[in-house]
Structures are given as structure tokens and as C-alpha cells.
């Protein structure tokens, strides 16, 4: 009975993580559409939420990677507690970076949290460091933003070359319409890659609980539906504060740049999802945004802001791992039963509500209401 309660808490925590992932990352998906005025903020966010949900049903390759290739979980209560602690570590880091308005990586936070918790719980042998973390997470995560930078840069050069002599008005209208498509594809790609990470973690918990046999890996349908719904809901509720950072503080972009950046981000993420790489969608989209700006004019990019984002990226993996490890140690103070997860998740929920309320009060708007960019 105790392990069943822990599974329920882990699933609920995973879905909350998925929600915070959507909440945190929605800015990456919709910022370019909003900053170029291709779509009003509320419509952009609703549209992204729907396509996030649809994207969750497209592929399961990333879920398989997260569940099988990063860490090895023993089918016992220790393994379950490690999954729980990893999730809480990732959520804590996501909330902190959201609170301070720093774009981060939910994916790195999740991987970092899991690695930290499993390392403390099961030891170094339970971490697939080389082929898993390095080969399927870190190297693709390094390649993806650089690739998106290159693709976004090349794309905008081609676009300017092709339409450069046309009157600006119709061209802007054309690319704004194009952004409805490219923004939709980006939301679809985000849902595909990010929702699958949660599916992978829930499946990992089900394996740890013995619900799914280790030699019969599959992602149950209810896991796919609930993960898609959670990330879509998180996207809808939105991370309005981060929209400002991603949309205009990196560089002011025109509709062609927005179109190129979204197209580059979407293609890199979808291609990676196809082969099962759990990318950081934040890193990838930011790479594409900077690439489309740098190709036009290097001075157009606010490199200081881009530098701050890089610092946040570097911090994410070790800090989430630290949070995951600490959460595991605190949870184990209450034994291996359900008491630890109940106490820790309740404390985290209270802390999250306090942070959200405080942030909303500082911004001067009630929770869920878009900031001035919506009313401009």
C-alpha cells in the first residue's frame, strides 16, 4: 500500500513538473510570434497549448531514452523515492529560475535532478554516464543550439536574399502569416520532446514499482494523455515574465527573423525527437533566435542577455542535481515509506504557491493575467 501511495505522489509530482515545464517554456515557443505581432499574446498562448497537447502523441522515442538510457532504477521503494526526489529537485530549480526571470532548461533540470537523486540513492553505477548522459543528452544538447543557430542564420540570409527587393508591407504580412505555421510547428515540437520526458519519468516510476516489467517497456496510454494535458495546461497558464526576456531582450526581430527562428527551432527539435534525443527546447530555440539576429547584424543581438542565459544553462544541470540529491536525503529522513514524499511534496507545494504569489505581487498583476505586452 505504501508503495502505491508513493507511485501516486510520483505521478502527481511528474505531472506538476510537466505543468511547470509548460509554464516555464511557453515563453520560448510564443515569444517570437508575440514580439513580431504575428499573433496577440492570448491567442498565441492558447494556440501553443493546443499544439503542445497534440505534439505529445507524435512519438515515444524520447520517453524511451529518458526511461531506459539515463539512469538505472531498481524495482523497489528506494528507486521510487529517487524518482520522486529527482522530480522535486527539477521543479525547485525551475521555480527559482522562473522567479528570477532567467530562461533555463527544464530538460536539463529534470535530467540533473534524476542523476543527483539516483546517485545518492543507488550509487554511481546506476548512472549511465557515457552512452546515456554524455552520448544521448549532453552532446546532442551542445550540438542542438549551435545547429539551430546555424540553421536560423542561414535561413534568414536566404529569406532576405529572396524577398529583399519587395515592398516591406506585403512581405511582413506574408511572414506574419508564416509565423502562424512556424509557431505552430514549434509548439508541436516542444510538446513532442518535452512531454515525452515526463512520460519517461512516470514510466520509470512504474518500472520501479513493478507495474511495468523491465523487459516489457511501454508507455501506457494514460501516461501519454495526462502528460500532454499537463504540459498544455502549463503552457496556457504561461510564463509571461520570461516572454519579455526571450522576445525582445535578446534582439528586436522582424517577422522574417521570427519565421526563420521558429522554423529552425522546430526542425532541430522534431529531428532530434525522431531519433530519441531529449533536447533542451530552451537552448535550441534560443540558439535559433540568436542565429537569426546575428546573421542580420551582430550588433543587433544583446550579447549580455545571451550571456546571462548561457550562465543559467551551465548552472542548471549541477544545481538541479544538487537539489535532487538534497531532496532525496531529506525524504529519507522519514524512512522509505510514503511519509517522506507526503511531507516534502506538501512543503514544496506551499513554497511554490508563496513564490508565485510574491512574484505576481511584484509584477503588479494578479496570477494568470498577461503583463503590459498584452495591452500594448
Amino acid at each position: 500500500m505504501g508503495s502505491e501511495i508513493i507511485v501516486v505522489i510520483v505521478v502527481a509530482t511528474a505531472l506538476i513538473f510537466d505543468f511547470t515545464n509548460g509554464f516555464h517554456d511557453t515563453a520560448n515557443v510564443v515569444a517570437t510570434s508575440i514580439s513580431t505581432r504575428a499573433m496577440p499574446p492570448r491567442i498565441a498562448v492558447g494556440y501553443a497549448a493546443v499544439l503542445n497537447f497534440v505534439g505529445a502523441f507524435i512519438s515515444l522515442a524520447v520517453a524511451a531514452t529518458v526511461a531506459q538510457d539515463v539512469v538505472e532504477i531498481e524495482p523497489n521503494s528506494i528507486g521510487l523515492l529517487a524518482v520522486f526526489a529527482g522530480l522535486v529537485g527539477a521543479i525547485a530549480w525551475n521555480l527559482i529560475t522562473w522567479y528570477f526571470g532567467l530562461p533555463s532548461s527544464s530538460s536539463h533540470a529534470l535530467i540533473g535532478g534524476m542523476v543527483g537523486a539516483v546517485f545518492v540513492a543507488e550509487g554511481a553505477d546506476a548512472i549511465f554516464f557515457e552512452e546515456g548522459i554524455l552520448g544521448k543528452v549532453m552532446i546532442p544538447a551542445l550540438v542542438a543550439p549551435l545547429l539551430a543557430f546555424l540553421v536560423g542564420g542561414l535561413a534568414i540570409l536566404f529569406l532576405y536574399r529572396i524577398v529583399g527587393r519587395l515592398r516591406p508591407g506585403p512581405v511582413t504580412s506574408g511572414f506574419r502569416f508564416g509565423q502562424v505555421i512556424s509557431g505552430g510547428l514549434l509548439a508541436l515540437a516542444h510538446g513532442t520532446n518535452d512531454a515525452q520526458k515526463t512520460m519517461g519519468v512516470i514510466t520509470l516510476a512504474l518500472v520501479a514499482n513493478g507495474t511495468i516489467a523491465t523487459d516489457d517497456f511501454h508507455v501506457p496510454d494514460w501516461v501519454v494523455v495526462s502528460s500532454g494535458a499537463a504540459i498544455a495546461l502549463g503552457t496556457y497558464v504561461g510564463g509571461w515574465r520570461i516572454i519579455k526576456t526571450m522576445g525582445s531582450r535578446i534582439h528586436k526581430m522582424d517577422s522574417a527573423q521570427g519565421f526563420a527562428a521558429q522554423g529552425a527551432g522546430a526542425t532541430v527539435i522534431l529531428a532530434a525527437s525522431h531519433v530519441g534525443f531529449p533536447l533542451s527546447t530552451t537552448h535550441t530555440i534560443t540558439g535559433a533566435v540568436i542565429g537569426s539576429g546575428a546573421a542580420k547584424r551582430l550588433s543587433a543581438v544583446r550579447w549580455g542577455v545571451a550571456g546571462n542565459i548561457v550562465v543559467a544553462w551551465i548552472l542548471t544541470l549541477p544545481m538541479a542535481a544538487l537539489f535532487g540529491a538534497l531532496t532525496y536525503l531529506v525524504t529519507r529522513l522519514f524512512g522509505t515509506g510514503a511519509v517522506g514524499p507526503i511531507v516534502v511534496s506538501t512543503a514544496c507545494l506551499v513554497a511554490a504557491v508563496m513564490l508565485y504569489t510574491r512574484r505576481s505581487q511584484q509584477a503588479g498583476v494578479p496570477p494568470g493575467v498577461p503583463p503590459a505586452v498584452d495591452r500594448a
Binding site: 507524435i58 512519438s59 522515442a61 557515457e130 552512452e131 554524455l134 552520448g135 544521448k136 552532446i139 546532442p140 550540438v143 542542438a144 545547429l147 539551430a148 546555424l150 540553421v151 536560423g152 542561414l154 535561413a155 536566404f158 529569406l159 529572396i162 524577398v163 519587395l166 515592398r167 506585403p170 512581405v171 506574408g174 511572414f175 508564416g178 505555421i181 512556424s182 510547428l185 508541436l188 513532442t192 522574417a256 519565421f259 526563420a260 522554423g263 529552425a264 522546430a266 526542425t267 532541430v268 522534431l270 529531428a271 532530434a272 525527437s273 525522431h274 531519433v275 530519441g276 534525443f277
Partner: protein, 79 residues
Amino acid sequence: MIASIVDTDALLQVIWVSLIAGVGVPACYALAILGANRALEFGRNGRSVEAVAFGVVGVLGLAVVVASIVFGIVTLVDD
């Protein structure tokens, strides 16, 4: 050492697919915009041959964009 750790085939697939689709599809969309704009301009000036030619460029560009998106999603779903 790196090559033995990373699934090189998968990584190369991501790179070439991203380059072709991420640059090619937006370029085709830009051709669609170019074709539509030029077709309208030439049509207004009574130059119907040029208008039709650019109209064809526009339609083809848009067709490639739609076909590429459908192909990409079908490939992902069929996996």
C-alpha cells in the same frame, strides 16, 4: 572516444535533416511570398505572362512547404 559514445548516425541525421528542412522550407515559403507579390504587381500592370509565371512560382513554393510539413509529421508519427 566520442564516436563510440554518441550515436553518430542519429546525430548526423539530425544535422542534415535540420539543415535541409530548416533552410529549404523557409526559402520555399519566401519564394511563395515573392511569387504572390510579383504576380499581383505584374497582373496590375497588365503583364499577364509574367504574372502567371510568378503565380506558378508562388503556388509551387507553397506546395513544397505544405508537402514538407505533412511529410515530416507523417514520418514522426509512423516511427
